[in-house]
């Protein structure tokens, strides 16, 4: 073990002001341990870092640079990629608390694993979840690898999720304690091996408490608004993004066709109008259809040949669907068992419903069929279905298709 010669920590600044009532006990003993904290510049990861520092960890803050802001249209990009506001916010928090902070470049892998996939999925008529994909393929595996290279066994993030130890020290992923903020949904795809070395320092807190801690510590990010958009589309204009990206890359004729105008039809086959490109629509979408109709209409299907199918609300219902890319963070698939054995969620904000999961393929890794105890609306291919038992995330998969 290498002992630090010069200290990066700042005893000259004096101790941090005491933040009253912080339950640091939810963290394992991290005293003297080097922990890499993924810092987005937001309040959650800032407080995560602060709590670890208070608990005696040797915190190393890292902001992942995942894409270049110069790729964005000028009005939505904050100057250049080197002056990102988020990076500066994270840097300021690190300086305030007194731990080193680095910006690490993940542009190449993020571009390949997340952005390319995002464009390809929309062009295939599916609705991708880039946050799930980033956690599974970029943030957790790559950050853990970089952390190890820096001599840190542990990585912490600002997710509202909890990691607790079960029998024999087995790591279990639980929903965050704040039901309004729970983000465990986005984490189903990470491996158990990485979960074992991950800390969620704010997972046991409410958002209110996190803001209060930030305020007590004098962190300027305390009142920073929530980010709601996909990080690489800060203006929320998915359509504009897809149009720019499609123009900048080679796409199959079939994919390009879905970025061009095509027919809007009813479920009975009646032509209702024209759409600008089926790739810009999502199953369950109600607004912006450009079709006048008496009863509310929803996108119920996107057909291969660039056709948008509209139907009524109940036509969105499905009670079975297929999953692919299935992975079980709990270690194994839930037993085939009874209907209503587990809970399933097909969107971040959705009341979980009872379901039965029937794994398919090798060791349950390849796919699964989900049978719901009650039908759900808008089962969108590409979105994640996450399987829970109580508050514990058992695993999940990517929706391939709705059945029946």
């Amino acid at each position: 073990m290498i002992r630090p010669a010069g200290s990066n920590h700042r005893p000259d600044r004096g101790p941090l002001p005491a933040a009253r009532g912080i339950a640091v006990s939810a963290l394992p003993d991290v005293r003297g341990r080097r922990v890499v904290v993924a810092m987005s510049g937001g309040v959650d990861s800032s407080v995560a870092a602060a709590l670890l520092a208070r608990a005696g960890a040797e915190v190393v803050g890292v902001t992942m640079k995942n894409f270049c802001y110069s790729r964005l249209p000028e009005e939505s990009a904050a100057a250049s990629c080197c002056s990102l506001e988020a990076i500066e916010d994270a840097r300021r928090v690190a300086a305030r608390i007194g731990f080193p902070h680095y910006v690490l470049d993940f542009e190449e892998v993020f571009g390949r694993a997340v952005i390319d996939d995002f464009v390809a999925e929309y062009a295939a008529g599916r609705t991708p979840n880039p946050c799930v994909r980033c956690n599974r393929l970029v943030r957790f595996p790559h950050l853990h690898a970089r952390a190890q290279a820096l001599g840190a066994d542990l990585v912490a993030t600002g997710h509202y999720a909890r990691m607790v130890r079960g029998a024999g020290g087995r790591p279990r992923l639980l929903r965050g304690a704040d039901p309004d903020k729970d983000q465990a949904y986005y984490l189903w795809g990470i491996t158990r091996k990485l979960l074992d070395r991950t800390l969620f320092p704010v997972g046991h807190l409410t958002k209110r408490a996190v803001r209060a801690v930030a305020a007590e510590l004098g962190l300027e990010v305390a009142s920073k608004p929530e980010s709601m958009e996909v990080c690489f589309i800060p203006d929320g204009d998915v359509r504009g993004f897809l149009e720019r990206e499609a123009a900048a890359r080679e796409m199959s004729p079939a994919a390009l066709a879905r970025l061009r105008p095509g027919p809007v039809v009813s479920t009975s086959g009646e032509v209702l109008g024209e759409h600008p490109g089926s790739a810009f629509f999502t199953i369950g979408q109600r607004r912006g259809l450009g079709v006048a109709a008496g009863a509310p209409r929803y996108v119920v299907a996107l057909r291969d040949a660039n056709t948008v199918v509209l139907g009524e609300r109940d036509e969105l219902l499905a009670d079975r669907f297929e999953l692919e890319q299935v992975s079980w963070i709990a270690g194994s698939a839930p037993d085939g068992g009874q209907a209503g054995d587990v809970l399933v969620q097909i969107r971040h904000r959705q009341r979980p419903v009872r379901a039965r999961v029937i794994p398919r393929g090798t060791a349950g890794a390849a796919g699964a069929t989900v049978e719901l105890a009650e039908p759900l609306r808008a089962v969108a291919p590409g979105q994640s279905a996450v399987v829970y038992r109580g508050d514990e995330v058992l695993g999940g998969g990517v929706i391939r298709s709705a059945l029946g």
């Binding site: 200290s7 080197c82 470049d105 190890q148 820096l150």
Partner: protein, 387 residues
């Protein structure tokens, strides 16, 4: 916080005697050197004293020293101030080396957009420009300016400035050298080597940031890049940065005095470091020849090691080094200098620059030789993840 500081090519700590000399000029000696009254005259004489000191360091006459805001401004003033005039008289080719500092390369690119033809000279495997390549360029073009650095900032590679300047003089082309990294580490000989323009930066030799100089041979006309008052004989408008100029003067005196002993001391430390590295770490490659580089600069590539990870790993152990491919904003591009030397992408990305200075001693080098192999081994043991 400082730890073991081995990044003197990035900047050096301002020497205590420099700080002490500057302080009165933030206070009671606040004058504007252009004022004719007593307060102004005091400022003027302080600037003149600094000008003499900088001229001695550069090997020029005092009236050839033009104070600027630093190396970047000096480089821009040299290229733009000479090239735009030369191009107007038909000498429209600018010759620069492929390993110049971005201050020269970006200024050359901009001139190219404005119609100047830019010839980029290659370097050999040790990062040194061949004099024959310059002679060839001078023979086949009507060259308005040649700009080749004295020592490279990344590898420390020393260029044959005397021969390059002589070849340029022979062909009637003015010769500029960016001596920012060389000042205080190797003797400079502006006049003796027939150099026409030389850039200096105070904070690279224990002076303050924000001040530098362009040495301009008497009689060579340089068009100012910013228009305004008649300071610096109309070559650089704007009120003189009095405290900083005073600081640069004091730093120049010390740097000149230390040339007798300090480079040899640093060269010994550098040899100790390289011998230790090559003994204890397999797959370490020196970038640049040990004896043809600045006595203070060691640039090494470690096979299979991401240079950025190494820099951060050493930082966490209190050892401050840098690399051309790591920047605070996280963008990672292979160094243009190492690429020009023929290093492949992977080796270029696996390099670190260790630059020594006054504060370093044998004990620190021993400590580095203790830590470095462990950090390199740790990084090599982590299998890289791919999606």
């Amino acid at each position: 916080m400082t730890g073991i500081y081995l990044d003197h090519n990035a900047t050096t700590p301002t020497a205590p005697e420099v700080v002490a000399a500057m302080l009165p000029y933030f206070g009671e000696r606040f004058g504007n050197a252009s004022s004719v009254h007593a307060v102004g005259r005091e400022a003027r004489s302080a600037v003149d004293e600094a000008r003499r000191a900088v001229a001695e360091l550069a090997g020029s006459a005092p009236d050839e020293v033009v104070f600027t805001s630093g190396g970047t401004e000096s480089d821009n003033l040299a290229l733009r101030g000479v090239m735009t005039r030369a191009a107007a008289r038909g000498r429209d080719v600018l010759v620069v080396s492929a390993i110049e500092h971005p201050a020269v390369l970006r200024a050359a690119e901009q001139l190219a957009k404005e119609g100047v033809r830019v010839v980029l000279l290659p370097v050999d495997g040790d990062g040194v420009v061949r004099v024959t390549d310059l002679r060839d360029a001078l023979a086949s073009h009507t060259v308005g300016l040649v700009s080749i650095m004295t020592a490279n900032n990344e590898t420390g590679s020393l260029q044959p400035v005397a021969e390059l300047a002589a070849a340029s003089r022979e062909a009637g082309a003015p010769f500029h050298t960016d001596a920012v990294q060389a000042a205080g580490k190797v003797p400079l000989a502006f006049a003796a080597h027939d150099i026409d323009l030389m850039s200096l930066s105070a904070h690279k030799f224990y002076g303050p940031m924000g001040v530098g100089a362009l040495i301009v041979r008497r009689g060579l006309r340089v068009s100012p890049t910013a228009l305004g008052g008649k300071q610096e004989k109309t070559r650089r408008a704007g009120t003189e940065n009095l405290p900083a100029i005073v600081g640069m003067g004091v730093a120049a005196r010390t740097a000149l005095a230390e040339l007798a002993t300090e480079p040899a001391r640093l060269a010994a430390l550098k040899r100790q470091l390289w011998e230790g590295i090559s003994r204890s770490i397999p797959g370490a490659h020196l970038n640049g020849a040990l004896e043809r580089t600045l006595p203070s600069t060691l640039n090494v590539s470690f096979e299979g090691v991401d240079g950025e990870a190494l820099i951060l790993g050493l930082d966490l152990e209190g050892i401050r080094v840098s690399s051309a491919s790591a920047c605070s904003s996280g963008s990672v591009e292979p160094s243009h200098v190492l690429t020009a030397m023929g290093r492949d992408f992977d080796l270029a990305r696996s390099s670190v620059r260790i630059s020594l200075g006054r504060s370093n001693d044998r004990a620190q080098i021993e400590r580095v030789l203790q830590v470095l192999p462990q950090v390199v081994a740790r990084i090599r043991s982590i299998a890289l993840v791919s999606p």
